[in-house]
């Protein structure tokens, strides 16, 4: 007996077999842990790569305190300067590490600090210039002892 239920079941199975198991873009989104966050910050505006340099030791023994320096290639004049720099972590429980607001009076678009890193990861700096454009650059850091596995 060929009931409507059986026919519907077969058509659903056929449909599943034809559909890809996951959306094609998911694999790419997982490669870039910053994509969703950056889109939220910029409101979907284009982000150019370049001009922003993140300096960290390639290998950090200890994730509790990793020296990090961000610099942005900018003349820092009233007409063309860096407005803000955001430091983002690819693996920390809170991905926004810090936000810095600069202006033409900085003279040089460079900020240095020490960060906590929850394991080896990519750190991204996102800079917004006075014309509203976004630029980003990053660095990979190997962390041998994570900041978040501290028992004390």
């Amino acid at each position: 007996m060929s009931s409507p239920t059986r026919r519907r079941f077969l058509s659903v199975v056929a449909g599943l077999a034809a559909a890809p198991l996951w959306p094609v873009h998911t694999a790419h989104a997982q490669d870039d842990p910053f994509a969703a966050l950056v889109r939220k910050i910029t409101g979907g505006a284009a982000v150019n790569s370049g001009r922003v340099t993140v300096d960290t030791p390639r290998l950090a023994d200890n994730g509790h305190s990793v020296p990090l320096k961000v610099s942005v290639a900018s003349p820092m004049t009233p007409g063309d300067h860096v407005r803000s720099i955001m430091l983002l972590s690819g693996r920390n429980p809170r991905p926004v590490i810090a936000t810095y607001h600069l202006g033409p009076r900085a003279g040089r678009a460079e900020v240095a600090t020490r960060v906590r890193l929850n394991g080896s990861q990519r750190v991204l700096a996102l800079a917004q210039l006075s014309d509203g454009s976004y630029w980003s650059g990053g660095a990979e850091v190997e962390v041998t002892e994570s900041a978040c596995l501290d028992a004390t």
Partner: protein
Amino acid sequence: MVARVQLPEGARRGEVIAVRIAIQHPMETGFRYDRMGKPVPKNVINSLKVRYNGDEIFSAEFGSGIAANPYLQFFTIAETSGELVFEWVDDNGIRGSERAAISVTD
């Protein structure tokens, strides 16, 4: 809260100078537990403002990703002699401030 500010002793007008500050603060992430197994609440210095003779020249917001005893270096153009004032506040609402004099020559 104890803080230490480092500025060059003197600067020429228009010179780009490095400003360094380190503040004593645990920067509690909120992910730690104490000896009794109780979570230690998050408490970080969440914002810092720097004024140069009254004008705001730099500000920052921090999260738990900034290491304990936060250290920061940024740059500013030496314009006139005077004072840099640093003011910050943590999640518990505790405020701190530090000031440093700068002498600028022509």
